[in-house]
Amino acid sequence: MKPILELEKVVVRFGGLVAVSAVDFHVGEGELVGLIGPNGAGKTTLFNVITGVYKPTEGGIRFDGQTVGGLSASDITSRGIARTFQNIRLFSSLSVLDNVVAAFNLHLKSGFLGALWRGKQFREQERAVHEEALQLLDVFGLKSAAHQPCRSLAYGDQRRLEIVRALATKPRLLLLDEPAAGMNPTEKVELMRLIRFTQERFGPAVLLVEHDMKVVMGICQRIAVLEYGRKIAEGTPGEIQQDRRVIAAYLGEEVVDA
């Protein structure tokens, strides 16, 4: 499988604190990979450095063969990496539809004069974008709420909207940061179905950070485990469940030795 994302000895340091240390990691095209680890292991930091929120202190990040470490976040997104956030970050003053339309900006010809003149080409483009956004919402069952303020959606629907919004950027790699947080078991099952459906329908590779083991073991093809900023294990769900170091990391040394 051709790797679409490659991390090579990535280090992220904040002043004296080393959040991520010499991590080698890759995600293949179309793969569904999970990233787990105890709290503070550096999972979200890794997400942030992949998506450009942070710059890597050392090491290389390559997407589709091209170096992306150090680029701005919007640059990285334009190359095909999108994400959702641990704490939902929707555009709170916008409607459900507008949240998605905003994410299409990336692929539109944003002519300043065109916007002022509003000729045929401009209006056609606007119409097409709104149409496509509505279709996307429809696929995920949010079309009926299109004109509502996004804040009025239920929590689970807001999470779904965040995924829809990320998909609007037409990513080839989708990063999901704890998408199951705050969900009940039924919603989690629905989420797992949703993620699998997203991959089948739209084709991006998915990198998932998640604490809920049922979700991770249930859908991921491969899992990487971080502890204190280092990768301590990598393998299939079955392998990870048996790995001594992983068990020690989550449950403590004594349990393993006993």
């Binding site: 929120v53 919007s74 970050r89 507008d98 944003s110 300043f112 919004r165 990320a166």
Partner: protein, 328 residues
Amino acid sequence: MGSRNSLLLCVLVFAVVSALFTGHPEAAWPLAQIDDYLLNILIMAGINVILAVSLNIVSGHTGQFSLGHAGFMAVGAYGSAAVTQIGGKPILNALSFLGGAAPICMFVLSLLAGGFLAAVAGLAVGLPSLRLKGDYLAIVTLGFGEIIRVVIQNTEAVGGARGLTGIPAFTTLGWTWGLAAFCIYCVSALIRSTYGRGFLAVRDDEIAAEAMGVNTTKYKVTAFVVGSFFAGLAGALYAHLIGYITPEGFSFLKSVDVVVMVILGGMGSTLGVTVAAILLTVLNELLRQAEQYRMVAFALLLIVLMIARPQGLLGGIDRWLQARRNRS
């Protein structure tokens, strides 16, 4: 074309027609009987509308709270006056081949000069301010406004602290409201495009915006440049209305005046701030007798507004109108 656009078109037509057919402020035909005092108020209202709508783009739509708008107005005022007053005679001579249209052309040139100089100033302020947020951004924009004022004050070539007098009175009702309509149109058009969505995304959540591919730098800088361009136009119109400008008139307090209009009208609502600008211009005039009490009343209004209704009087109106349109 929506109903709002048709209305704008009517205003635009009226403005263009009256601008074309007049040489004198009083000659706009339905208002031929209007007296100078009332006319001046109407023109000031138009200038304030441009100021408020242009600040709204920066602070309301893009969420970059700016306390230095008067600085851009000053650049526009002095920049345009440099063309008509300081460079007056030589430029008129250069344009003499246009005959009777020469003065108007000079005025147009001065407006463009004022606008573009102010836009450059907007770029100079917007770029360093990119990384700043909230309180710090407010103070830095205030600082830039003050720096502009101090520089003008110390530049003898434009009159220094004494100010610049003898600016020809080119501003008419037609020009003012024509440009105001143009400003409103530009802002409304931008809002309903990738730019508007970019502005609002930057305002709501910069990090999420960047993650969705919205180039926050591009949109913040665009907002500053567009906002300052129109502020410059407003300044140019002002200079050619009053005929006399001083650096004191473009101080922080003037910036606050415009901020009050934007807040009263509701940040992010073009219609709201337009109405608020007109309202406050009229109110200012009515209270001119009680000048001293006016500012105290305004200050109290601001405090009460923030506690009781921070979205301004007309804060939700744009969304309400949009919702009605969606339902139909």
